[in-house]
Amino acid sequence: MPAVVMPNTADWLSQLAGVPMPARGQEDWRFTELAALQGLAPELWSGVDPFAQINLPAGISRIGADEAQGLQQQGLNSTGGGNVWSVRLNQGASPRCLALRVAGEAGPLQLHFDAGAAPGLLALQLVLVLEEGASLELLIQHGSSGPNATSFVVVAQLARGAKCNLGLLAPGDARASLLSHLSISQAPASSLQVTTAVGGWALSRLEPCIIQLEGAAQTRLRALQLVDGKELADTHSQVSFEGPDGQLDQLHKVVADGAGRSVFNGAVRVPRRAQQTNAAQLSRTLLLSERARVDTKPELEIVADDVKCAHGATISRLQQNELFYLQSRGIGAEQASRLLLRGYCEEVLRELPAAAAALNPLELLLRERL
């Protein structure tokens, strides 16, 4: 198949990343057509710096640029994120960087990055250091209303006993793309929850890469991804256990409508030194259209022998008996479908950090389908 990306945009992106754009031949990008980037003007986004005015709650302070640079390299090295195309693109696109240190119990933090209607590529970096015993609840909101792409790289490290509840709420635009990479390292006794809710982008690619440096930490991943129209949403997650007694609880939910495409690849790595790991991964897809395409692949590399690893994947339509139950209570077929769809999404959305409730994430993501 000939490349559909406009030569100048593709060349420009390759130049920024220092390596050619991923091709479909590459395993990590096998199902992910980057054609959506073709509409992107080959220029950097030039709106108002989204980091310009951010009020930090008590317990959170800024880190200087040099230190942030070092921390980022270190974080990306530990997860292997440094070689990922999305990260290299981000680093080559003059990213704006926010680096924060969290000590003790910090107040909730909310960051909103809206690429708006301005064209071009917006590159953002967030570096987070949670000190020993620190806790943070962070809600990141992405948005767009124009032909642009947001590249977002988060590098976070959780020291011993740290707790981080990270939410990413990203209702998109059918002309826009979102490429988001998260490299997060966890020391023992730390606990991490990452909840992502993405929908409405021409192209979205999420790469949560979590490493439990010595095991013995808790990781909870919750994801909802919606595709409709000709949208493509891709999540490539990776959780690695580098020591014993680690826990993972992962739920990935998809709503696939229209001629949308959804890709989920969930890697879990449990080497021999990670005995007593307890990992569960469940992927669920609600298929609302015959034309939608869904590719789901758990990728479990389990070498340790004394572990509990469960995984499952389901693809279903709206349940007829559930629909009938609602109808038999006077609720019309359409409204009943909407209620069921909402219920399906709520299971993930209600796990976003508390600040999300006021934003009405369901409405943001489902829009007219509500």
């Binding site: 009938f324 139950y325 006077g330 209620l339 069921l340 299971e347």
Partner: protein, 267 residues
């Protein structure tokens, strides 16, 4: 309460129905007038739940013959939601769990759909909370159940109480309760029976599908019907249920044989 001049709410005539390729109902006839309580009994698999689901409009069943008239119009023309709005209620034998859908929200949407049909104003969340709290008393249910997902993780008995709560909110004209007594402990049975008795009145009717006399000790039926092989084989007063307690269903085989059918076909 039997009043020969009471208006007919529901009339089923010669009803035949099948699911997939399986013929299940073979000519059900039944007339229900307002004020009446009917008990429907019969062996497992005789078609009781099928009849109730056909009445509620379940899409899996096809009517091959016969008619159902509800409040003077053709029930089979109506979508399931319209039937409910017009006051037909089915308490399910197996209420469905719906994860993620709040019970409170579900009850409110459902109640408002019925109210709109009756020309009553819609209740906002606050007004509805008041109403639901009052109706919770009918089934002595803990308000905590309102904040959970519909039936999700409810015990068998809790699901049945949730069904009666819905009945109390929807104030149906014809309530069909499919084995609402099954799986209830003794106290819960009494609570549910009290609830049904409170809601039964001269202007509505109740169809109780049950296997047990103990429910009919608490709710006195005007008629008892015995279903077999997809039809109503015998109808009597409350004493018929007591007789069944003594005799069981063996006579059913004989009677069906007299009707020219092999018992083997029945099972």
């Amino acid at each position: 309460m039997i009043r020969p001049d009471a208006p007919v709410l529901l009339e089923i005539t010669g009803l035949h129905a099948r699911v997939e390729e399986q013929q299940i109902l073979n000519g059900v006839n039944l007339i229900v007038r307002s004020g009446e309580i009917h008990a429907v009994m019969g062996r497992n698999g005789s078609g009781k739940s099928t009849l109730s689901k056909v009445l509620a409009g379940h899409p899996a069943y096809t009517i091959t013959e016969g008619s159902i008239t509800y409040l003077g119009s053709d029930l089979l023309e109506l979508a399931p939601e319209q039937r409910s709005r017009l006051g037909l209620f089915l308490g399910f034998q197996y209420p469905v769990e719906i994860p993620g859908v709040s019970n409170l929200e579900f009850l409110r949407v459902s109640t408002n759909a019925r109210r709109a049909q009756r020309g009553e104003e819609e209740l906002d969340t606050f007004a509805f909370e008041d109403l639901v709290r009052e109706r919770l008393k009918v089934v002595q249910m803990d308000p905590a159940f309102l904040n959970r997902s519909v039936n999700e993780g409810f015990s068998g008995g809790e699901k049945k109480r949730n069904e009666i709560l819905q009945m109390a909110l929807l104030e149906p004209l014809v309530a069909i309760l499919d084995e609402t007594d099954s799986g209830l402990d003794i106290d819960a049975l009494r609570i549910v029976a009290d609830g049904v008795n409170q809601l039964a009145g001269p202007d509505n009717a109740t169809l109780l599908i049950t296997h047990y006399q103990r429910l009919l000790d608490l709710i006195t039926p005007d008629y008892v019907h015995v279903m077999a092989a997809g039809r109503i084989l015998r109808t009597g007063g409350k004493e018929l249920a007591l007789e069944l307690e003594r005799t069981g269903y063996e006579w059913v085989d004989q009677e069906l044989a007299n009707l020219g059918r092999e018992p083997a076909e029945v099972l």
